[in-house]
């Protein structure tokens, strides 16, 4: 089914990807919907709140304030499966605590540019934190922390017309998980559609909806795109 390309036509989109690049294919699909996409991440200096803000400020100066931000912050340390008792403290800090801090800094940097005119921020993440995944405890911790932060900021910024939402996609739909051995059994429940969504043609349109005018009343939401696997309450 073709998405409505008018949803993002002429919209400015910042695709901010730190670490694993989980949302790359989704962002390709966002560009298909007519958005002007600026990809950020590898060029951002994440060392401090000031350096993150400087990077976002520079992007806004070059391209204008974004209407939609696609956000994915997954430090590579979070993608390495390991038992918690074997995990180095430095890896835990990088994956769970610093990953969350970077997410906060990016939101802090984006706020001044988005709150004056409104806009949408959509996190793209794997759904595995909602059910918990053994040997990826740092990733589960990070993702749920980001999801909590998303809700809190959605409440703080709602009056400014900035929405924040969370797309929880089946890990198998996200290429960086191709080589990751997930300990959770893939057949624990029946997947209603029997397959994972295609990120470019089936996940990206949801970002088009959330980033367009039609999605302005949705904020703080978690939207499961896992083909009807976990059907969370």
């Amino acid at each position: 089914m073709a998405a409505d390309a008018s949803w993002l036509h002429g919209k400015r989109v910042f695709a901010v990807s730190v670490g694993a690049g989980l949302a790359d294919a989704v962002v390709d699909g966002v560009a298909d919907l007519g958005a002007e996409v600026t990809r950020l991440g590898g060029d951002l200096d994440l060392a401090s709140a000031a350096s993150v803000a400087a990077g976002i400020d520079a992007a806004v100066a070059a391209h204008g304030a974004p209407d939609l931000v696609v956000l994915s912050v997954i430090p590579t340390a979070a993608m390495r499966p390991d038992a918690i008792d074997a995990m180095a403290e430095a890896d835990w800090r990088e994956a769970a605590i610093e990953g969350l801090r970077t997410t906060m800094r990016l939101l802090q940097a984006l706020g001044p540019h988005m709150k004056p005119h409104g806009g949408a921020i959509v996190f793209v993440a794997p759904s595995l934190s909602l059910v918990g995944t053994p040997r990826m405890i740092a990733l589960s911790t990070l993702l749920e922390g980001q999801r909590g932060l998303m809700k809190s900021v959605a409440r703080q910024w709602g009056a400014s017309g900035v929405t924040l939402n969370w797309i929880a996609a089946a890990p198998r739909a996200l290429a960086p998980f191709d080589g990751v051995a997930l300990a959770a059994r893939p057949d624990a429940v029946t997947i209603a559609l029997g397959r994972a969504p295609d990120p470019r043609t089936e996940i990206a349109p949801l970002l088009g909806y959330l980033g367009g005018d039609a999605g302005r009343a949705i904020t703080g939401a978690t939207l499961m795109l896992d083909g009807g696997e976990w059907m969370v309450p």
Binding site: I97, L100, T133, T141, K151
Partner: protein, 264 residues
């Protein structure tokens, strides 16, 4: 409201050793007193010995057994020492309850105003400490055969409280931690759960006493009409979770809040 019937549960956790972090006051003190009442040997982990001794005195006054250990749970070395002292005193660990929370938890922050100090203070206690506790205490919990690992979280992490985004993020992160750890430790017979309490701590009582109208409005948010007593409501529920009655429950976030949060 009828009084809590502690007598019928007197030996429910007899012979088991429970570590409670942040047990120098508030919910942690209520948990320690509740665990002591049902026969557990309680390790009162605190930053300041004076508050820990106050808690231990309450546990002992009820006929319970308590050991006070000074520990800044955000630091690995302190957790190592906590484990060593506990095992030296009692021979093992059956129950670990991470209740400690930053003093900034109740502070209001706009996201834009959060600095690195605010962040570190809250995340070290909320996210570094449970990592250290899990690493250091896994083996004793596994050997217990009845291992329980419980994290005190908050409904703020569920509904996305706006007051303090760092606190909300940390409490939500603890949910992810608990669910994943429960799956990892399940094959070893250790259950991992979280509790989201609504507790009438001394601080909450003082706050509400200054504003009766606010207290009345707050009570209306609870179907049971009140916030929970730290020992007889929150502590009693956690005691049940530590007992054999809850041995088949793991990976859950349990709201012990008088019906405040029902959106799940």
């Amino acid at each position: 409201m009828s009084a809590m019937d502690w007598a019928s549960a007197r030996d429910l956790l007899a012979g088991r050793t429970a570590i409670v972090t942040g047990a120098g006051g508030g919910i942690g003190r209520g948990l320690a007193c509740a665990l002591g009442r049902v026969g557990a040997k309680v390790v009162v982990a605190v930053r300041r010995r004076t508050t820990g001794e106050e808690t231990a005195a309450l546990v002992r006054a009820d006929g319970g057994e308590a050991l006070v250990v000074e520990a800044d749970v955000a630091k690995r070395a302190a957790i190592d020492a906590l484990a060593s002292e506990t095992i030296a005193a009692y021979g093992g660990v059956d129950i670990v309850i991470h209740n400690a929370s930053s003093a900034l938890s109740g502070k209001t922050f706009a996201l834009e105003d959060v600095n690195d100090g605010d962040w570190d203070e809250q995340c070290d206690t909320a996210l570094a400490a449970p990592f250290h506790l899990a690493q250091v205490l896994f083996e004793p919990l596994r050997r217990s055969g009845r291992g329980r690992f419980i994290v005190l979280t908050s409904s703020q992490g569920l509904h996305g409280g706006a007051m303090n985004p760092v606190y909300t993020a940390c409490k939500s992160a603890q949910r992810g931690f608990v669910k994943a750890l429960a799956r990892e430790w399940g094959p070893h017979g250790v259950t991992v759960n979280a509790v989201a309490p609504a507790a009438l701590t001394d601080a909450a009582r003082d706050y509400l006493a200054r504003d009766p109208e606010r207290a009345k409005a707050a009570a209306a948010n609870f179907p049971l009409g009140r916030m929970g007593d730290v020992r007889d409501d929150i502590g009693a529920a956690v005691v049940a979770m530590c007992s054999d009655y809850w041995r088949y429950v793991t990976g859950q976030v349990v709201n012990v809040d008088g019906g405040y949060y029902t959106a799940l």
